[in-house]
Amino acid sequence: MKLTYLVDRSIKYILLVCALLSVFILFLIAVFTLREGLEAFQTIGVGQMLSGTVWRPGQDQYGILAMILGSVLVTIGAIAIGVPFALGCAIFLAEVAPDNVRAIVRPAVELLAGIPSVVYGLVGMVVLVPMVRQIPVPGNSGYGLLSASIVLAVMILPTITNIAEDAIRAVPQSYREGAFALGSTHWQTITGVILPAARSGIIAGIILGVGRALGETMAMIMVIGNSVVLPKPLNDNPITIFLRQARTLTGNIAVEIGYATGVHESALFATGVILFMLIMLVNIAARMLMKERHA
């Protein structure tokens, strides 16, 4: 009796400590990264770093605009390819698939999340890059934003699919019945009632996918080409920018941290800080978007 009472009283505090600890760790990481990056911010200047188009550490040029653009473009590409695909999977799993099919497909999608990043990179290099190389545009090497976007789209598929499926399943059956009773087809019910009702959950899934995409490192290094030059279209057609080689913020850190010293090293930490803020911004935007929906 006494013991259960004690456990009951103390469990609250133990849980509180766990929660506080994780907040504290987040804080530590932020402070540490910021401290290490401070030198770069001071000697180079935040504006210079953000707007500089040249990254040449040997000549003390530390502009990361090319990498920001690389990260943003590859994320946009991954979302453009991955979201329709993931939504399709989620709708199929939640609304269409009979139980026995779902019992196979759902674990398979989940398994995608368990494949190590480097394996995605390998498959991307061996399978995808040669395929993309077939696109007949001068200057296209196969390595670049398109290949990276496709790899990333597959990598974020399970995250978005899972959350979107849960959101769709959480839509009350009464909405479904209401729509059917008014004579809508299954497809009209899905697009007109179910998806709008599941909207905030689906957006949350997409945001998590964006976060994951911005943070992905290894697979990106392996297929994106890692050029530090500001990505531009290969010809008059702006879409050919995706055939250009690029580098992500994460890739920039991982590729160079092994040998960087001094301001160079600090600039990499500063890149980390900017990445951190970018992801935070995305999350805030997401929250605001979701609040708006509820109002």
């Binding site: 209401g178 009773a181 809508s184 709008p196």
Partner: protein, 257 residues
């Protein structure tokens, strides 16, 4: 039956949930432009029967049926189910407006039917909301979420939403059971008005309500061995004053159920 024409007719209709028989050999005729009430103890198959008319049971895996249901002489199981549901609307026990604006709720049916003309939609919205006695309360704020209305208003919104499709028949499954007495009276009043233009079938647990709103009453029953049997179907007056079956009388006088 009286001289009025028949809107819906079931002949030896059985319905099974898997192996469980929930409706047992039901034959009855629902007269047009009348209110027909379905009463009976809980679990006797009232909702199942009601949902047979717009084939909502099709959505439940493992359901199969025997016998026939026809609407104006046409077998509903041979009809396109979407077309059927446009002619046979439904109002549910719990108000279930979509999480959309009042306007979008009411115009949902016409819009999935392909109507895009804004003026026409406006007109339908007003007519349907008036028909459901909700217009005066919401006309200044059609952009408000349907979920922001009171329970009784939500139910009338759902009725308006059903009216907007211009059905012939409206099925109502205990439409007032989630509402307070005043909202209930409004719905009952509305049902009496609607029968001018629609054939109404209503499931209710409330005997007074059945007595107040309906012209005909079907008494369903369940016992140890069978579920979903039709004991008696007649004029509401007859059922309530002089039922021919003892079980009906016992139920109505509150001796069981």
């Amino acid at each position: 039956m009286t001289g009025s024409e028949i809107k819906l007719e079931t002949q030896n209709f059985d319905l099974y949930y898997g192996n469980f028989q929930a409706l047992d050999d039901i034959s009855l005729q629902i007269p047009a432009n009348q209110v027909t009430a379905i009463i009976g103890p809980s679990g006797c198959g009232k909702s199942t029967f009601l949902r047979a008319f717009n084939r909502m049971n099709d959505l439940i895996p493992g359901v199969h049926t025997d016998g026939e249901i026809s609407m104006e002489g046409e077998n509903i199981f041979n009809m396109d189910v979407v077309a059927l549901r446009r002619r046979v609307g439904m109002v549910f026990q719990r108000p279930n407006p979509f999480p959309k604006s009042i306007y979008d709720n009411v115009t949902y049916g016409p819009r999935v039917n392909g109507l895009r003309d804004r003026d026409k939609l406006d007109e339908i919205a007003e007519r349907s909301l008036r028909g459901a006695a909700l217009w005066d309360e919401v006309k200044d704020d059609l952009g408000k979420s349907g979920l922001a209305l009171s329970g009784g208003q939500q139910q009338r919104l759902c009725i308006a939403r059903a009216l907007a499709v211009e059905p012939d028949v409206i099925l109502m499954d205990e439409p007032a059971s989630a509402l307070d007495p005043i909202a209930t009276l409004r719905i009952e009043e509305l049902i009496r008005e609607l029968k001018e233009d629609y054939t109404i079938v209503i499931v209710t647990h409330n005997m007074q309500q059945a007595g107040r709103v309906s012209d005909y009453t079907a008494f369903f029953y369940t016992d140890e061995s069978r579920t979903g049997i039709l004991v008696e179907f007649d004029n509401t007056k007859k059922i309530f004053t002089n039922p021919s079956d003892q079980r009906t009388e016992d139920y109505i006088t509150g001796r069981f159920g």
